[in-house]
Amino acid sequence: MLSVTKRSSWTDTLLSIFLFVLIIILYQYFAHQRHLLNPHDKLVPTFAQMLDAFTRSTFEPDRNGVYRLLDDTLASGQRVLISMVFVFGGVLMGAYMGLFPVMDKLFYKFFLFFDKIPALAILPILFIFFGLGEVSKVALIVIGVVPTIILDTYLRAKAFPQEQVIKAITMSASKSQIIFKIILPKIFPMALDSIRLNFKAIVLFLISGEALAATAGLGYRIFVVRRYMAMDIIISYVIWIGLLSYLIDAGICLWIKKQYRWYNK
């Protein structure tokens, strides 16, 4: 039985931070132990070392005169932003496919097939086709995520009450009016939700692409500093990526909440 009694807020807070605190304590303990044995240990940096690495990469220019964290974040951000254009294009595509039988017949099987192909498996082919520049990195994200988004929106559009579409047609609405005025406003918050939940995949593909060939980027840095075992930098970058993803997630949630008040959970 779930208790309906209102719990005091401090116990709630305590519970929700409990596991974080536990992990931090255990981690710090092991890091300390390792450093007692080997003061030069780089594999399990203490929190002080991580903080130092983070400030170094954020506020001090490196030996090339670059503020690393900023530079990497901008490079990765640009890649994500460009792929986002395709992701939103995918939403539109899904809506068209759901509404028009010709589009449905032409594209559905095609995207269903592509959705089943693990993008990472065709990475070597992408690099041969698109070279080692930006195109292949964006292509990896697009091929990895967009089919899922298209299929998701397609199913939403398919499930859209036909009565409303028919009603709009009888009132002589054009095709694009049906898409943009009737269907999209209703399914867009759902599409945003699925973009939000797929963001992890976007980051995953971004990092994989950057690990293979790049001159800057969050994933690039993690794989380069690995050559000298700078775990302090790696972990601080991982936390930074997690934080950014969390903020983007929260941002999309806020967008849905503000713009689509009727769409509630």
Partner: protein, 368 residues
């Protein structure tokens, strides 16, 4: 409410047990080090990765030569094949006791992380296995403003640095594109827009098959600077010299087979080629650019020569200027390196890398 209380109690209990478990765990990672004494004989783990100069280790394992030598000294040796960088990481993390690596990684990975290491065997040096290849007849001097594909902070990066230095250029004159070694060859071959690449064999052989590609600089221009070593944890070797004996004995037995140039040699090379994933002819070609020290005497002579000290000086300066000794390192002297004659390079209070010739000497004097 009752449930909530019970849940909270459970969590607090969990926290306490976790904490106690953490505190009572034997202080130190040494207890999970891989050398275990379970059973009668001590067991050691040795990691290796594919490279022309390291294939003999795999042959030693497959032909049971390694097992024979391990038995002779009453130990067990498990040889584990890994990718290169993960193998060095596993070594630094303490999951294996020994690992093959170049002098550069030996310095900037274990030694810089405080994992005191000993170079047990100097197997070979790269004599053309690492090279700078270009299109359009570009020379090193023509690379100004161009992109160069390579694995950043690897030996390839070192080669670039030395090539530029010898041509009066700086690293900032070119743009380095960090490229994974898994894709560097096919990507370069298929994209004519890429003009320069630095990588290692067997990829170099593959890329050179292209008609428009030329080699403009190679490790053979800086012979001896990139050495391929068998690195063992210093404390493990100190406590268990039999590990050093067994590894060295097995290595020079294989070297003798490779040098004989008879049927046994062909068979051995065929096995090495197969595990490297290339043909026998290709492997033989790779060996031409690998300066192997087939006899313990030649390895001993080179290890005790001044050339090693000079090479390490180049390498440590490169490592320091690229932040590989740790971004907080203040000098290339921060890490001490000790040579067989007792000479110490760098901080003598922080010796993290030893060049030990004693085992090769035993092999040379047939004392194994």
């Amino acid at each position: 409410m009752n449930n909530f209380k019970r849940i909270s109690q459970f969590f607090i209990l969990l926290l306490l047990t976790g904490f106690i478990a953490a505190c009572s765990s034997p202080s130190g990672q040494e207890s999970n080090a891989s050398s275990s004494t379970s059973g009668k004989s001590k067991k050691f783990k040795v990691a290796w990765s594919i490279y022309s100069g390291w294939q003999p280790w795999d042959y030693a394992n497959q032909s049971k030569i390694l097992e024979k030598w391990a038995k002779k000294y009453g130990i067990e040796i498990e040889l584990i094949k890994m990718d290169y960088i993960p193998s060095v990481e596993a070594y630094v993390a303490g999951q294996v006791d020994a690992c093959v690596m170049t002098n550069m990684e030996a310095l900037d990975m274990p030694a810089a992380s405080g994992v005191t290491s000993t170079a047990l065997i100097l197997g070979d040096y790269s004599n053309g296995n690492d090279a700078l290849l270009t299109r359009d007849n570009l020379q090193v001097k023509d690379l100004v403003g161009k992109e160069v594909n390579l694995v950043e902070l690897s030996v390839s990066h070192y080669i670039l640095s030395r090539a530029l230095e010898k041509n009066g250029l700086k690293e900032s004159d070119v743009t380095i594109v960090n490229t994974s070694d898994s894709d560097i060859a096919p990507a370069f071959i298929s994209n004519n827009s890429q003009k320069a690449v630095i990588t290692w064999n067997p990829l170099i052989m593959e890329i050179k098959k292209q008609p428009d590609v030329k080699q403009v600089f190679a490790s053979s221009s800086i012979p001896g600077e990139i050495m391929d070593l068998m690195i063992v944890k210093t404390n493990v070797l100190k406590d268990n010299p039999e590990l050093g004996n067994a590894l060295t004995g097995a290595w020079y037995e294989v070297m003798a087979i490779m040098k004989k140039e008879d049927k046994a040699t062909e068979e051995a090379l065929a096995i090495m080629a197969e595990s490297a994933g290339c043909s026998l002819q290709e492997y033989k070609d790779q060996l031409k650019t690998t300066a192997m020290f087939y006899s313990p005497k030649s390895a001993l002579n080179y290890t005790t020569s001044k050339a090693v000290i000079q090479s390490m000086d180049y390498v440590r300066k490169f490592c320091f200027s690229h932040g590989l000794l740790g971004e907080n390192a203040t000098s290339f002297d921060q890490i001490g390196i000790q040579y067989p004659n007792g000479e110490i390079q760098g901080d003598k209070n922080n010796i993290q890398l030893y060049f030990d010739s004693s085992f090769m000497e035993k092999a040379a004097n047939a004392q194994l």
